[in-house]
Amino acid sequence: MAQLDLRNVRKFNQQNRITRNWQLYLMLLPVVVYFVVMAYGPMYGVLLAFKDYKVRRGILGSPWAEPLMKHFVRFFTSPYCERVITNTVVLSLQSLLWGFPVPILLALCVNEVRNSTYQKFVQNVTYAPHFLSTVVLVGMIRSFTNTDYGVVNLFIRALGGEGYNWMQRADLFRPLYIGSGMWQNAGWNSIIYIAALSGIDLEQHESAMIDGASRWKRIWHINLPGIMPTIVTLLILNSGYIMSVGFEKVFLMQNDLNLSVSDVISTYSYRIGIESAQYEMATAIGLFNSVINMALLVMVNAASRRLGDTSLW
């Protein structure tokens, strides 16, 4: 009997919670529609990777590929496969290696400056490049490294060297990509750490000072551990994107001379999918990419949960 009562109460509560909150569900209606159409709709579209697409028959009506994995096989046996996967992984790992620690160091440094005018000045300057568009950024790189008029080459010539077009050298593609990325985003990415630093308890610093701890020691033993959860969380999130170098910047920096290092999965699938309209194979590449990313994220998250206590879920 008691059990039955409890169930009724629970059921009543649940109904009550739904009916009393009908306005909240109304608010969520457009949100749900959005995610169904724009996120889950395209997910159903990945079926395309297993079909022979006939425009007039739609995705569902098109016949299954024969054999089923034929578009994947075509990608994996294509001469470009190894190149684009290698380029993608190398570029994003190198970006992470160089680009990830800098905002943390920057935030720790900015936090140590006691002159608040100077502190604000440094922050505002370092944030600024973030607001430039990718097109403008790549345009700047091109103009600066122009063989005849670029300011970089002016300096090289002033120092007695020989000017050259940086964008046309394959060996400079990665340094330019990573360096400009750091220039553009180091300041902006430091914000989250600065915010985390401002949340660290003052009392810890005060008692450490009473114990005679130097500033270096306080950074090492209080500030760094204080923002460690933030660092780990961001590292996990970033690891989910190792197989997906953003399309926009690479595409703009790409030219025939650096294609051997600048051709990545996203630009390749753009060429296959949009430019030559081989939808099935491009979808297969995209699906392969998503699955790898997802797997990486789950793995890193599990590792982080086992090693420490920070995890996304």
Binding site: M27, R114, F131, T134, V135, G139, W183, I194, S198
Partner: protein
């Protein structure tokens, strides 16, 4: 942005010699970094105000040489850049408005503890952050199924909610607005819409401003969706026109006057690019300091306890 966290007097009293040297080193390090970051920006502005021949001859290093506004005049004469500028303004305004409405509509209900099904929904939404259909299925959905080719809706509907921004806003709602205030309002008879409009949003100015800025910058700077969906030139946003001028090197065609000397023309074209870069970044420069104020406020409100 962040106020100095430690009380000044007590820190000064305890500064040892080593600490002073440590801080000096940091100040110098940051100064070097600041110069590295600011120099390219200064150069672009200086070059844009300099005579093209001076820039080409390598006479401009820091400040403008033979100051002129010719480069800007050339840009203003370019019809397609100007129409791109207008289009981008409209797209940015419409897109950001839609983004904010949708993000609030998602973040507020999901911030409510007593919402039945909250966790499941949250999981379904977060999942889309890490797994997506990919380029082609999205392209077919937007372009073919919804038929949004050459429509600005193709630029603003697909990214209407950034899950990341939605989570930031939701976190702000749960951590910075006391749940008790919302409950009190509801006991006094306020509806959920009433609570959202009269209690939650007025207390969320900073986070709405900052997230609005994120969205606005995203719209202003994006070119990829326009590259996919907008082929009609009169509808193209600024970034696509910029791409033609800055990347695809068609700036020679920008010149109205035909010069005899091709070399001279090439020099001018190179310098005009700097003016194009400055002009295209002006809206961001205007917006940023304004919203930055809210940003300081946002962090402060977040740190006040009770």
């Amino acid at each position: 942005m962040t106020p100095t966290t430690q009380p000044r007097a007590s820190r000064n009293a305890r500064m040892s010699k080593g600490d002073v040297r440590f801080e000096t080193a940091i100040v110098i390090l940051l100064a070097i970094l600041t110069v590295i970051i600011i120099y390219p920006l200064v150069y672009v502005v200086s070059a844009s105000f300099s005579d093209a021949l001076m820039v080409a001859a390598g006479r401009v290093f820091l400040w403008p040489v033979s100051v002129t506004t010719d480069n800007y005049m050339q840009v203003f004469k370019n019809q397609s850049l100007m129409s791109g500028f207008r289009n981008s303004m409209i797209i940015m305004a419409m897109g950001t408005a839609l983004n904010l409405v949708m993000t609030i509509l998602a973040a507020y209900p999901l911030s409510r503890r007593n919402l039945w099904g909250r966790n499941v929904l949250m999981k379904m939404i977060t999942f889309t952050m890490f797994f997506s259909g990919g380029l082609i299925p999205t392209y077919l959905m937007v372009g073919k199924t919804l038929g949004l080719m050459n429509s600005w809706l193709a630029l603003i509907l697909p990214g209407a909610i950034s899950v990341y921004n939605m989570i930031i806003m939701r976190t702000y709602f749960t951590s910075s607005i006391p749940y008790e205030i919302q409950e009190a309002a509801e006991i006094d008879g306020a509806s959920h819409f009433g609570t959202l409009m009269r209690i939650v949003l007025p207390l969320s100015g900073p986070v709405v401003a900052v997230i609005g800025l994120y969205y606005a910058v995203g719209h202003w700077n994006s070119y990829f969706s326009a590259l996919l969906y907008i082929s009609k030139e009169s509808l193209q946003p600024l970034q696509l026109h910029l791409r033609k001028v800055l990347i695809l090197n068609s700036s020679q065609t920008m010149m109205d006057m035909a010069s005899d000397e091709a070399a001279r023309q090439a020099m001018r074209a190179e310098t005009i690019k700097y003016a194009v870069i400055v002009l295209s970044s002006v809206p961001m420069l205007i917006m940023y300091p304004f919203v930055q104020r809210f940003f300081i406020k946002g962090v402060m409100i977040g740190s006040v306890k009770g």
